[in-house]
Symmetry: D2
């Protein structure tokens, strides 16, 4: 094990809870904060120390993990002038796991460098059940030495760590690119299954063919099944968050002058799905409009 004394953790949501549990099980000391304290109860029973303010957490650790829902939530927790980064102090490491915009990541990294600390982007790939089973992967980008210090810890609670280089924003860019690819795979399968149905061919047979051969990988196997069974109501990743991600990708695509035609289709799909009241379903629920357009 490494010589990390105590780890701070802020953001105990669907992802944060299993991550924190696995850290505790592995033997790390945890200092935690959450807006709603009852969520943390199970962690306290496993030995976590609860603080009443984020700033208290940051003051007492060298390594801080945050796992929040979006740019605004993260910036709010860090404080208007980067108070948490300041509290972490020289040598302090912020492991930022939220899916946020590359622009925000770059700004926060610069801010923390001003206090002598290190901002590492560590978005993760996987849904809550995978995280609980340590089967997810981390994308990691930022300062080389800082990355070395946390690598063992991250490997211990995951299936692997992918290095995206020294620019923190690159891990966010990669995470957005992957979420785009997943959404594109969902749309493509939704269209293919509608195409099969309307041409008198069983979409389940088409699914078996692809999932057993050229597309034998988690995205096609798992999302394909959800599309066919229409079990959108138990969201593992909410459609509203999917829209947020599509718009984050669009923002970076627009700023960097990158035309992305599939992305444009997806922006409209997610906008329509949210306008139709499906923000809280699983993001595979974009399928409902594909199906409806075909008059199925």
């Amino acid at each position: 094990m490494d010589n990390i004394d105590a780890v701070g953790f802020i953001g105990l949501g669907q992802m944060g809870i299993p991550l924190a549990k696995n850290l505790l099980k592995t033997g790390y000391r945890l200092k935690i904060y959450n807006r709603t304290s009852n969520k943390a109860q199970c962690l306290v029973e496993m030995g976590a120390e609860v603080k009443s303010q984020p700033l208290q957490v940051a003051t007492e650790v060298q390594v801080l993990m945050t796992c929040l829902s979006d740019d605004r939530a993260l910036v709010e927790v860090l404080g208007p002038d980067g108070e948490l980064a300041k509290a972490l102090g020289p040598g302090g490491i912020h492991l930022s796991m939220s899916t946020i915009s590359p622009k925000t990541a770059t700004r926060l990294a610069k801010q923390q460098a001003g206090f002598g600390g290190y901002y590492l982007s560590v978005p993760l790939l996987g849904r809550p059940d995978a995280v609980a089973a340590k089967k997810h992967a981390f994308l990691l980008a930022g300062d080389v030495l800082a990355k070395k210090q946390v690598e063992t810890m991250l490997k211990t609670i995951s299936a692997g760590v992918f290095d995206l280089g020294e620019e923190p924003a690159s891990a966010n860019v990669a995470k957005l690119a992957l979420n785009f690819l997943i959404a594109a795979a969902i749309e493509a399968m939704a269209e293919a299954f509608s195409f099969a149905t309307k041409n008198d061919t069983d979409p389940k047979a088409v699914f078996n063919t692809l999932a057993g051969t050229l597309f034998a990988c988690p995205v096609y196997q798992n999302y394909g099944r959800i599309l066919l069974e229409k079990t959108y109501e138990e969201p593992l990743f909410k459609l509203g968050l999917g829209l947020k991600d599509m718009l984050l990708i669009a923002e970076s695509a627009n700023t960097s002058r990158t035309p992305m035609r599939f992305l444009r289709v997806l922006e409209d799909r997610f906008l329509a799905a949210v306008a139709h009241g499906r923000a809280d379903m699983d993001w595979t629920a974009i399928n409902d409009d594909v199906v409806s357009e075909a008059g199925i």
Copy 2:
């Protein structure tokens, strides 16, 4: 082994040659025809019997395999009034492997039923090297008893056979759906890699992340590599054939009243690529326009 006496084979192209070789190696007697006879030389050395006319082949066998480039080539070989189907006679089986339109498949099946025979659609999934190594899969649809007769043979020369039901056209619909999914995966990765590049992130690092986790399957691993290395010039599947397939899918989508937004993007991509003179490259070469649009 089954009790198939001799198999006819017409269409000795990139796919046909390795299929025929594997049939011969497995012990099947082959009667073959090809427009250009020199291509068949290697098969003759392995024991195949060459006929100077397609009709001669059909007359002497009960099971005929065809593997041609498109609807027109297939219909031309079969004869204006289905002469080959007639020659196969009652109980004869036509294993049609070409990627053709579902509409043509339905018409040919009806024609052959008129002569007391069986038309089975057997498009295959895989590129020439996979076919040679018996690592490809067959999609199979048509009459239940006819399928039973050829199942052993098809399994012997492939990695597996997927049953698409009793309507021959369904195997063609499934094949088109799969080709659409592959093309969509190529476009999605091309956009994702351009997005990464223009946002100062190494597309190779993004590729490693996806190919090692959520997208760990042949389509993403193989085509992703080709996109990054830009080795389009050695085509395994020609872009011009890709356009043909996109237009076949569009035809069926239009006829069946199925809107398909990703397909529309792909139609334009392939049209532009062919207009730009890349019909003979690998179909991943649609990437050149994605890259050019982004000013990379």
Copy 3:
């Protein structure tokens, strides 16, 4: 007036009736045929001579006008081997007004040239009320001398004739291009009005602004009003025919390798509208899906 003795007219639909009436009013002798004879009653009262077979019409005139719903209807009337073109004979002129594919126009022109006659493409621009009021325009393409012979007649019953050159298909290409532009204007306004509505701005005020300034022309003024008042149920041009035209344009675009991104959007719009059961409404009814997508 010119020295045209008698004009044949086949296809007395929404367009044909007012055209025929205006010819009679102007003093032309008419020989007509229609599948359903009661439609022709009003024309008989004005002096038209009814024939029981298309061939009889063609035999007795030098100039034949046809105004049918699509390629198939036209080809069926002309006969499998161009019997009507043959009956018109050397010097005979076929004024073909149907919105058909350029490919069919070229084939029919060649066929008629074989009999020594002239095929002129004369699609018209305008809806039935405009045709009745002689406010529509003709597009005219084909042999120079043949065009000269019919020019006076066409001018007498319209607001103007636009010359598209000597290749008959060019008038069909132009007609398709114009229908594409109209459909694109409808979609664009539909999106703009939804955009206004969802941003708390009165679409009627937006309409007044555009219709009174930069877009002060029939397409925007007329279709804009229909979009706002949603009077789709009284079709002047049926949505199902709109889909037919979009697919004709797509066919020519695909064959000529011309990517058309707006066209792709329109193909899907019209497919969805037809799948939703709106084929018999006015083609502005594509708006219903634009509005529904926005959750309005």
Copy 4:
């Protein structure tokens, strides 16, 4: 004439100069400011009074006109805390002509109301030559009484004023909707002309047909001509500004959950054109990519 004593004017660009000239010619007293003073020389000769700071202008007038390039430029001139709005004071009117986001308009209107003044959105429709000839139109939205005070003045220097209601942002929404419609018309014509060209039909003949009939209005007549003559190099409206507008529309569309499929195509078109280095050409230069895609 009204009883407006003196008018302040800030933003003497391609649009501002002719507007200011016409105000002076009509008899209004002008107090002006511009970053680069030489531009104002011609106005000084006509009687305008130059101030060295924007704040001085605002202090000495009751009615202030601004005509700047984007949200940021406008906000910068107004001061971080709305210093200019404060200087205008109670009853002061800000006529804001820039094409900015509806969101910014709403925020500035609220800010000025806090100082007892009125913010009116007055974007204009027309290119510089139309503005000089008083042939452009104003869109006007905001407080009823404030609008009444400036109406005479606006009418005097334009061809007309369109009232968009009491919410200032509505004039911006309408302006964006109109710019979207113009861009859509350019794209549609570009596609139609490429379609004609590749189908052996003269696009000029197609243009004559549309410009003389169903599309006989400034947008189609003027932009159609530019597309055919490819005189993009003398920009009347720069492509880079076109991209800015497309992204403003997209921002409002995304925020208001309005899918807009044509807009998505346009976003990618303008991104590609800017990535290809055509930001300073006329915005009709998006045509170059339409043409190139078709291999023309």
